[in-house]
Amino acid sequence: MVTFYKNIPIIDTDGPTDDLLYPKDVEYGLVPRDYATDPEAMFSPPSGMELIPQSEWDARFDEQEATKSSLEHIYLSGSNGAPAFTCLEQNGHGYCWSYSTYHSVMLDRLRRNLPMVRLNPHATAAIIKNGRDEGGWCGLSAKFGREHGHAVQGTDPGQWPLHSRNLRFDTPALRAEMTKYKIEEEWTDLTRELYNQNLTMAQVATCGFNNIPGPRDYNWWGHSVCGIRWVRIERGSWGQLILNSWKGWGRHGLGVLRGSKAVCNGGLAIRSTSA
């Protein structure tokens, strides 16, 4: 039986959640990071991150709940608890590793009240993979986004049509438009090989309490999603609130990973995007 955190389904270490993890007719697309080709020096280290000790987690979570200030609250700030934007959907292509990054950029813009645009992760994935339907890890899309920016969804010049993998849309106008939505601050690599599981967990939790979204890769799932918040499911039990890119999944795309399921194998923090 599936359990819930505020009507959001929980994916537990031992829970019967196959229907949630492996529903029919969805694609994943995660290919774990190969440190030989994508070395640790690819992103900046999180040494500058002031970690929030676990002893403070309860107080931080309580403050976020009392003030309704977390990224979860901001995402669900539409009328009657609806999301502020409909989550992106990868529609049968193995591009989850681009959707997790794009979701992070959109959430960063939402929380800082920057002009809202609906972005299209298919553009980045298709360009990187030369139009092929191939998997990857979140760092590939993040690196591309830092250098080139992110595409806007649409059919006007400079935009990329929904779910298209056609490279004829990769025009100078598109590239010019993409540069408007670049990552300005350094990405922080949360999952260097040398880190142990606890350090990665502490970094992920700190991002959650600071409303910093970021893509998360889970090798056990073969999937990449966006990490939104570090949530208390019950006293002493914490989980990663995620935003998925599957149509009709979870509550408005939200789910919670708990226990060993919450430990990501690839993770980045988006600190700031261009206004």
């Binding site: 500058g48 003030t67 929380r111 800082r112 300005e184 600071n210 910093i212 700031s272």
Partner: protein, 266 residues
């Protein structure tokens, strides 16, 4: 009339566009060798009136030397003017947007005037002003035998209200400060009270190194003007009726709301 037209042409050709600073001489005779020169010195107690066809955001660097009041024209003003004589006079200003500037204390500052909606940096007007210590000594004013109580001046209505929360994107603040500006009460207040542009409420959270290349014009101009004055973070930037203030970051959500309501009203 001709003299006014010539004066206007001279000002327009000097890229001041539709912002008119006080100049000397005030009027220019046809074929006069004297070109108008913007006044750069004001004595305490004199009035320095800026006229503009568009609303202005004003900033001072450094702050603390000038008091600036925004007003709507046409407006009659009685006083001693920086571009006038030492005698008080009654003037009528026809421009829709006025800024009445007075000196607070002796010193030198830069007055920066940003037209709302500006898209070109060249449209921003900068004027160095030196406030001198001695003001003009107007003739004694006869005191009426039974002075009537003067009503308190009406508070200026808030016609422009924008807010920027500036904090280092990678920093960890206290739990209470981390809830700013995400708290629902703050977001709701700002969304309803700040001046929208293009349908989007006039508040943001920025990193100190925020790139605003693609921002909306007014927010971009506000950031360009205040950024040089931000030396440490986190800070709160509040702009009301064209005057921007950089102040200490609130301690918690309640403190933030209290401060914001002082500027933007209930």
């Amino acid at each position: 009339m001709v003299r006014f037209l010539i004066l206007w042409l001279l000002l327009a050709s000097s890229c001041l566009a539709d912002i008119h600073l006080p100049t000397t001489p005030v009027l220019v005779e046809p074929n006069s060798p004297k070109a108008p020169k913007a006044i750069s010195e004001i004595a305490r107690g004199t009035l320095y009136v800026v006229e503009s066809t568009t609303p202005l955001i004003q900033l001072q660097a450094p702050e603390g030397f000038l008091n600036v009041v925004s007003a709507k024209g046409p407006l009659s003003v009685f006083g001693i003017f920086a571009d006038g004589s030492d005698e008080p006079e009654l003037r009528k200003y026809a421009s829709e947007n006025l800024m009445i500037v007075t000196g607070i204390k002796p010193g030198r500052t830069e007055l920066i005037l940003i037209p709302v909606g500006v898209t070109e940096q060249e449209s921003i007007v900068r004027q160095i002003l030196t406030v001198t210590g001695e003001g003009p000594r107007p003739p004694p004013v006869p005191v009426p035998p039974t002075p009537e109580p003067q009503p308190d001046p009406a508070p200026q209505p808030v016609v422009s209200f924008r807010v920027i929360f500036v904090k280092e994107s990678g920093s960890t603040l206290s739990a209470e400060q981390s809830a700013i500006p995400g708290a629902k009460s703050i977001r709701d207040y700002l969304t309803s009270k700040t001046t929208p542009e293009g349908g989007l409420a006039g508040w943001r959270e920025y990193d100190p190194q925020q790139n605003t290349t693609n921002e909306q014009a007014t927010m971009k101009a506000l950031w360009a003007a205040v950024k040089p004055n931000i030396t440490n973070t986190p800070v709160l930037v509040v702009e009301v009726n064209g005057k921007a203030t950089v102040r200490e970051y609130p301690k918690n959500t309640a403190d933030a709301l209290k401060i914001l309501k002082e500027y933007g009203g209930q």
